[in-house]
């Protein structure tokens, strides 16, 4: 540290003279040059887009720039997708998701569920060891899920696994879970990033400090984490999957500013960045050896309407609002063409998705529906939402759209804590102040259940219990959702969810807007690294191909 500081003061002194003389000149220079450079970038881009040069890479150390700091490395006690992405490089679960959110085996080789969806048996992969040398077996699985299922543990992800009544070791490589009630979506819950498995030795040694000392079976081993600077992992030489991983080291760096993250990719300080802001996709794709990958995600965007409150207690008003919003324009203006029109309550990549007929953009129809409902001259209303720039942009767009049918919207962006207080401090549903709410949702289990039940699952999901801010309560929907959970039979589940989706679509408790695309930028020598539809990152197959 001491040497470091000395070095620096020399550098500063050298610079100081130059700076003092040039500071004013530099300011105006920057103005002009920056203008020029951005202009020249534009013209470059159009030429080189077709014949992208291959970027060069030395060594096998990868830098990945992400948007935020990680919160912890204990999957049982974190709930952000970003931390989950990093945890997945070091820890693995029984099952996982592939590129299309299908459940695939990881540490389990196969599984079996009974018809009531109350018993799940897993056959485990053999000859797998944790990074600390502990063998992976049924006992290790039991230790982890006992920890998760224990209500006294205080873990943030306990509720996902609270249905597990007992976990039994059948033999060294077979383990059986028994649930206290049927839960058809359980296999997806096992594939959820929260179901990753720690080394039992590490759990014993570090307790809840595994959040700083993750030890798993994954392709990479933990080296060091300085929360504000980054996290480093290295290749696990003894990884069970032959030939992987194919790089030596990965460093994750939190870079909050969109422009800076892109600059890092341009200079080569980062090999992979995500997310790429939608408005930058066209600007950087195909230049400086950069490729942007844009794929459909399971993140849905919608505007919830409080169905207990006038005028939204009238289904015609809710449908009118759906007809009044031009979704194509929403995707063009707000999402910069990086998204798709939402045509059900869940996204196509979510299990049991059933496509619906879109509410066409039709102002005449919207107006006549409003007239029928007795709101010929429109009304005034408030639209709540978060205060990040993309939420504000979307809300301003909705304001413009609804103005076309004389619905005068007041946009109310709110700071996170205030917003959550306004939403969840409601004790009586009738007292809820919320009218319109712009929101997004990503069902992290990839299953229809988590895409509907917390958001529209009747009175049980009303705030403060869950996230049903539309205060939508249709017993038929509740029934269908429940029926789908009572069985592990995929066909029966699919039918039940289809029915629920049809009813919800007709009832229109939301204005259905769009699904996001996942957006990642990478140097074109990188392969095998991609974002899953839930927005999480997969790097286990990452390699450098030149």
């Amino acid at each position: 540290m001491h040497i470091f500081i000395k070095q620096e003061s020399k550098g500063e002194l050298g610079m100081k003279k130059a700076l003092s003389v040039l500071s004013l000149l530099a300011l105006s220079m920057v103005l002009i040059l920056a203008g020029c450079s951005s202009a020249s970038n534009d013209s470059d881009g159009k030429d080189s887009a077709k014949e992208t040069e291959k970027a060069k890479k030395e060594g096998k150390d990868i830098v990945i720039a992400v948007q935020d700091n990680f919160t912890g490395m204990d999957p049982h006690d974190t709930n952000d997708t970003l931390s989950g992405s990093v945890q997945k490089t070091m820890l693995e679960g029984l099952v996982g998701f592939d590129k299309n959110m299908n459940v695939i085996p990881v540490l389990a080789e196969e599984y079996l569920a009974n018809d009531d969806a109350t018993e799940f048996t897993f056959k485990l992969r053999q000859n797998v060891t944790f990074h600390d040398g502990t063998p992976f077996n049924a006992e290790a699985v039991k230790v982890n899920f006992d920890r998760l299922a224990d209500p006294e543990s205080g873990l943030k992800r306990h509720s996902l696994y609270s249905l597990i009544e007992k976990t039994e070791v059948i033999d060294e490589y077979e383990v059986k879970f028994t649930l206290s009630e049927p839960f058809g979506a359980m296999i997806n819950t096992f594939a959820h990033p929260a179901g990753l498995i720690h080394s039992p030795k590490a759990l014993e040694e570090f307790g809840n400090d595994v959040a700083r000392n993750p030890v798993g079976t994954g392709p990479f081993k933990f080296v060091e984490w300085k929360p504000s600077e980054g996290l480093e992992i290295v290749k696990n030489e003894d990884y069970w999957l032959e030939g992987f991983p194919k790089v030596d080291k990965i460093t994750f760096k939190p870079v909050a500013e969109n422009g800076s993250r892109i600059a890092m990719l341009q200079t080569g300080e980062a090999d992979f960045i995500y997310p790429v802001p939608t408005e930058q996709v066209e600007n950087i794709n195909g230049k400086n050896g950069i490729e942007v990958e844009s794929n459909p995600s399971i993140i849905v965007r919608y505007m919830a309407m409080n169905t207990l409150k006038k005028p939204y207690d009238d289904v015609r008003v809710r449908q009118a609002l759906n007809h009044a919003i031009n979704k194509e324009a929403f995707i063009k203006v707000v999402m910069n063409n990086q998204g798709n029109v939402l045509d059900s309550v869940i996204a196509p990549d979510v299990q049991f998705y059933a496509k619906q007929d879109a509410y066409a953009f039709d102002l005449e129809k919207a107006k006549s529906l409003l007239k029928e409902a007795g709101y010929e001259n429109g009304f005034k209303t408030k639209l709540w939402g978060g205060n990040n720039s993309s939420a504000i942009k979307a809300m301003e767009f909705l304001q413009q759209q609804l103005a076309q049918i004389n619905v005068e919207v007041e946009v109310v962006p709110m700071e996170a804590g205030t917003l959550s207080d306004r939403i969840w401090s409601v004790q009586n549903a009738e007292d809820a102040e919320i009218e319109l709410y712009y929101a997004g949702w990503s069902p992290s289990t990839g299953d229809a259940d988590w895409g509907m039940r917390p958001l529209l699952g009747g009175t049980e999901a009303y705030p403060p219990f869950s996230y049903n801010v539309a205060y939508y309560d249709n017993p038929k929907v509740d029934e269908s959702i429940l029926a789908a959970l009572q069985t592990a039979d995929l066909e029966k589940r699919g039918q039940a969810y289809e029915e629920a989706q049809n009813i919800i679509w007709e009832d229109a408790p939301w204005a259905f807007l769009s699904t996001d695309n996942t957006l990642a930028g990478k140097k074109n020598y990188l392969q095998g690294v991609y974002l899953l539809p839930d927005g999480s990152l997969s790097v286990s197959e990452i390699e450098i191909v030149e």
Partner: protein, 306 residues
């Protein structure tokens, strides 16, 4: 003098005590439920209540306050609700980066600001003065996110001289400290100019001139010293502000500092971190302003404190 210093230093303890109560009350009064925010959007009420218990937020407020104060007296600032790490660690690893960035930004900004200010004052209403004014106003009205991103585009992406961000070597300091110092330099320049012009009109300066002292020693010897009082005041304040960390700079240059930590902890209502940061900021301002007050006495011995 020594008595004054001791008195002022002793004063800090009750003030901080008062401040800590104030901060505790304010932070708990503003809307926002840390248990809900930490548990996340897709948490059920059951999750939220578990988290609340785990974090000790289910206890009555006076009990929480007593715990907080007892820990504080033992030098324990508590544990972050969001990351479950000790607050001293969270703040510790960000304090020095913020401190050094502040120091380097202040050093160049004050030097440059003083030079511009003196030149402007002595070349009043000449082109140098106008250029100084133009530069200072630019420095004030350029938003730092704009300046920072432009500098990155030019010096990191196009020219490749400096890294885009992070804190790896001395090179990492150049762009952020330039961006951070610009506003300070502008403020120092404007205050130096104005205050030096005031002093240069004073009779004793005129007398000095008429006595045949050369212009240089009049300005640098007599003038500047007396003109320094508002400048020192302003510099102290700026120093204090920068020590609090700058969210924009830390975001744009991925700098591990206190500013973004504060914003993040406010977003999660991470009470222990917010409280600790505010206590530190208050202490910083109290100490800086104490030093500034002492400097008044050095610059102008006629200013005395009783």
């Amino acid at each position: 003098m020594l008595r004054f210093l001791v008195k002022r230093l002793l004063e800090i303890i009750p003030i901080l005590l008062l401040v800590s109560i104030l901060i505790f009350l304010f932070v708990h009064m503003i809307p926002g439920d840390p248990a809900r925010l930490v548990a996340g959007e897709d948490a059920t009420l059951e999750d939220v209540e578990l988290v609340r218990k785990e974090l000790g937020l289910d206890k009555p407020m006076h009990e929480q306050y007593i715990t907080y104060m007892t820990n504080l007296f033992q030098g324990d600032l508590g544990t972050s609700l969001k990351t479950k790490r000790p607050v001293t660690e969270e703040i510790g690893e960000r304090f020095m980066p913020t401190f050094w960035l502040t120091v380097w930004s202040m050093v160049w900004a004050v030097v440059v600001g003083l030079i511009i200010g003196v030149v402007s004052a002595t070349k009043r209403n000449k082109w140098q003065d106008y250029l100084g004014m133009f530069g200072a106003v630019s420095g004030l009205s350029l938003p730092s996110f704009w300046l920072g991103l432009m500098l990155i585009q030019l010096f990191a992406v196009t020219l490749g001289w400096f890294p885009t961000g992070g804190m790896e070597s001395w090179k990492s300091y150049i762009l952020p400290s330039f961006t951070l110092g610009t506003g300070v330099a502008a403020v120092v320049a404007r205050f130096t100019r104005s205050s030096l012009m005031d002093v240069l009109k004073e009779d004793y300066i005129r007398t000095g001139r008429s006595k045949g002292l050369n212009e240089h020693s009049v300005i640098w010897g007599h003038g500047l010293r007396n003109a320094m009082i508002p400048v020192v005041t302003m510099t102290g304040l700026q120093f204090g502000f920068l020590l609090g960390g700058s969210v924009v700079i830390e975001t744009v240059f991925s700098w591990p500092g206190l500013g973004k930590l504060l914003i993040d902890s406010v977003a999660y209502r991470d009470y222990p971190v917010i409280q600790a940061e505010m206590l530190i900021f208050a202490l910083e301002f109290i100490l800086i302003n104490l030093i500034v007050d002492l400097l008044y006495g050095v610059l102008n011995p006629q200013i005395r404190y009783e």
